[in-house]
Symmetry: D2
Subunit: 341 residues, 4 copies
Amino acid sequence: MKRIGIVGGTGYTGVELLRMLATHSGVEVTCLTSRSEAGKTVASLYPWLSHYGQLSFEEPSIEALSDCDLVFYATPNKIAMNEASALLDRGVRVIDLAADFRFSDVSLWESAYGGPHGAPHLIQEAVYGLPEKYRADITGARLVGNPGCYPTATALALMPLVEASALSDANVIIDGKSGASGAGRSARTDLIVAEASDNFHAYAAGGHRHAPEMTHQISKMGQDVSVTFVPHLLPMIRGIEVTAYVCTSLSVTEAREVFVSRYQNEPLVSVVSDGEHPETRWVRGSNRCVIGVYQQQHGQLIISSVIDNLVKGAAGQAIQNMNLMLGLDEFEALPIYALSP
Amino acid sequence: MKRIGIVGGTGYTGVELLRMLATHSGVEVTCLTSRSEAGKTVASLYPWLSHYGQLSFEEPSIEALSDCDLVFYATPNKIAMNEASALLDRGVRVIDLAADFRFSDVSLWESAYGGPHGAPHLIQEAVYGLPEKYRADITGARLVGNPGCYPTATALALMPLVEASALSDANVIIDGKSGASGAGRSARTDLIVAEASDNFHAYAAGGHRHAPEMTHQISKMGQDVSVTFVPHLLPMIRGIEVTAYVCTSLSVTEAREVFVSRYQNEPLVSVVSDGEHPETRWVRGSNRCVIGVYQQQHGQLIISSVIDNLVKGAAGQAIQNMNLMLGLDEFEALPIYALSP
Amino acid sequence: MKRIGIVGGTGYTGVELLRMLATHSGVEVTCLTSRSEAGKTVASLYPWLSHYGQLSFEEPSIEALSDCDLVFYATPNKIAMNEASALLDRGVRVIDLAADFRFSDVSLWESAYGGPHGAPHLIQEAVYGLPEKYRADITGARLVGNPGCYPTATALALMPLVEASALSDANVIIDGKSGASGAGRSARTDLIVAEASDNFHAYAAGGHRHAPEMTHQISKMGQDVSVTFVPHLLPMIRGIEVTAYVCTSLSVTEAREVFVSRYQNEPLVSVVSDGEHPETRWVRGSNRCVIGVYQQQHGQLIISSVIDNLVKGAAGQAIQNMNLMLGLDEFEALPIYALSP
Amino acid sequence: MKRIGIVGGTGYTGVELLRMLATHSGVEVTCLTSRSEAGKTVASLYPWLSHYGQLSFEEPSIEALSDCDLVFYATPNKIAMNEASALLDRGVRVIDLAADFRFSDVSLWESAYGGPHGAPHLIQEAVYGLPEKYRADITGARLVGNPGCYPTATALALMPLVEASALSDANVIIDGKSGASGAGRSARTDLIVAEASDNFHAYAAGGHRHAPEMTHQISKMGQDVSVTFVPHLLPMIRGIEVTAYVCTSLSVTEAREVFVSRYQNEPLVSVVSDGEHPETRWVRGSNRCVIGVYQQQHGQLIISSVIDNLVKGAAGQAIQNMNLMLGLDEFEALPIYALSP
């Protein structure tokens, strides 16, 4: 039984890690930390996880975490970068679900997130945790930067094309839409039902932090891209859909074939047939990504990609990475059947 | 590997049976019938269950089903009653998720559902599939009538009291609320988002078919009750909450103790503490029931009970019954961790 | 043009007062106060009310308000009671949308809300602002306590029966459900979309402050009642539905006739026919109340009543009271056509 | 009092016409037709419009409609084109809310909608009912083709730029999102709450009928454009948001100034400040359009535009056109204050 730690297990990504790890036969959550909830049991805070019994939150400390085989940082940005080194030195592997280790170039990180990075020496070692791209590197890795939710949906939507050098123009447009759980468990007036349900709007249309991550990571896959990204807030709980608009000389039939071929051995990524459109409910609670490819009269290609932002977009992908890092079955404990209706 | 058949697998209860049975290590769905969808694969109809691969719907026939160890009827009322006998004769066990076998008195069934019953000789043999009450009888049973969704939430809310003969008045009021999936996968104008979201109303306030089932089944548990039941339609997908108002001479503390004691060995039924209120999201996608007990200044006791109408209120409870009937682990393949947020 | 002041115009009741008063031909909002938003325009805070142009929030002060003909207190409890006297002395009429003036017995108020009342000498003068009951008293009144949202829906659901002394038992059960706007514009985690949409639960089942108001005000209408009230939170924005369960010797036909007769001259209260059920969307944004009357096999009568909690349950009824107090057309500026879908 | 007819008043656009016309002081609905509901009153079908009293649906007939000053066709496509001529001949003005008269080139209409047009001789006379562009032509017109919902939001988002010849590339991308009421009052399984709430997906990504309307009408405004349009279904009732991506040499500041200047005298179109994003709830139930203009590091300009699809996107704009055609105050009966929350 591998011993797992979770730092900051009180946000939605922490809750989702707990939900999925509960069904894992090869690991056990032995250390769960939260400054604000120390002393409370999982069951008392999350009645829907009441079968965790007496597992309790404790004060965060490197000492307590050192006993683990792997630690998840389900924390805000700029926490993991200050603690990873100490854990790695003690032989503990680390997955950061925030953005500290998503860039292989520290200056890009600094321009997106500000201030000096707390562990620039680890940037090069850290692997970007997108298994469909970096499976071999993640296997056995000590440190993984788990991709952002929008970047995951986007990277999977563009990877087959950039790997095939099929883009005829670097400019790509990503129109993203996310369920409200993407904003986290925050007491914000603009997120309450009376304001955010039966409502829709763009946000950060002048520039969002996920755009540099997309530009950086997708460019590394084969073709330089320059991403224009506009996110929108959906009046629902879970799910991300991105609609990508790209220029290519491929016909839609050729393009769809590129996608089918690229993902044929990826059990968690599906490509729908002509005429079908991926729906976020098809992946609700599951670790899958579903993709559709379209074209109208003009040359531009349209790709629609859906994931569950909390699963493939966060905690599920993190567990997939954990499985690879620890030499376990990559797909253990990853839900593949969605909850629908 | 036990062989399982599902008749009418195209409604929500059928879909949920498929979702949960997919994770069961001891059974396999070998026969899936639907008149309207014969020839289509599960994966093509339900993209969120795409890992079922090539399992296809076929035309319903007793012959095809005879090869199964157990058959679920996820059909409208009055289908199972005409086919159960033939299957039982061939050694196939049957669980009806509709109302055909929920009454042990045929005249009560006839007054609620109309017309002659198709298999009156089986009424006495059929066991009411509420494991928390009839676990021993269900174990090894040939024929189970799976409880209705509202009756499940209500029976679990009243059972501890009626078993303890704690009601001081037979009249009980059940104010029920159900998510829209309770109305099934029906193309009805009153269920579309533009009409039924951001909306709430009572229905069948003059009398609903689930009231006789409640009155009949709860009365069999220890004390005669007479149920007034008003259901309401919630602008959401899953979840039932019933608020029960009963007369008792117990104090709220005594009453809560009766509940805690009754359910202490039931892993899927929980009783919340004073001050907490069960929420439907705590059981979303899971086979659990969560109950709260309250009292205001007057003597009346208030019980709030929540379940997922499609799981503990239908397909999950049916699988729990299947496990018992086939001698498998009662809790195999039953989700206990809810999807929340 | 009558001059109107609004104290605390930044909550939902304040916003709704502004929305409706904008269409009133006989009044003008001349003073709008908010400590937190002083200096900002209505248009900048509420883009959906942008046609208010340059009307701005100012610091609350008795002086500024003294110039008004009537002032609405859209504030929390215990504000109006400390300021009403000064305004009344200056000839300004007052409507409190909170609970300070909803009880004609100060000890009842104190046991529900705690602490000494700030203006016990005004309690007797204040009129309970339910026009369907107290139209004559409200006309020309100086001080009105605007009813609570649940109490409005409940009082209209029981008034015809208690006026007719038709209850055969004082105990009445009120199962209430409210949209999330009833909780106000509050940055609370339990109200965000990720937690409160697709979710349902009871709250305050051990006792809610609106129960004493109901018991007190309905008892004054003709028959002593003792109310058991359990509220529930709906995953939607607007609307209250209460289902009342009462004992009576009337048949359902007789009871419905009592309702029809009582409300035949009330343009904003409707009684639906047998077989119909009032829906909250029928009153969305409007000042109406729609009521249904039912009976099952037993003697208990069931009444379902719906209002928009922010309109007839708050700001709309307040404007109705304002019209009466100022001698204007009672129904001016009150929406009667709901927004549906 | 002008006499108004509505053909097909049982869909959502018909219902919305009735809701708004009820508040109009200069017109009266004298003829309301529906084949399916003939004989029923408005009040019986739409309890939220119960103050219409005894106005009833009647069988559609040119004779009955001939008595009107103006007739709205709130019908499916290809109805108005076969009846308009007869009404115009009888001196009755006509507004079609479907697509029959939205193209000034019959071949474009035929390629988008198929089959021969029923009244090609009227195509040139018909005015495209976008008052912000064609106010002078609509004033006094006999026949108006009311714009589609997506095209309205899109045209207002692009008009200032194309009038200024500010686009540096004809290709424009329109990522559209619509509430479920846009699909009409249809008993479709994919629209029921259990399927379409808490869900999101693109549709018609390979081509949607509104794209030719956009391309045609926007090109007529000053610059040829070629529109790629992908619509998406929102899990909510009302509201359209389109995010437009266009190439221009203008800076974002210059572009925003073009918008502000263009709409400064349009009371129903607003442009938000830098940093603000239009929300669909800001226009819920109102006839307004709110627009935001943004730019990221690259040259592409981003425009976000919101309307209520049933009001400015259908019935409200139709009434605005009616007012102009009949010489009434253009803004009478048009809601400008939205219902929010």
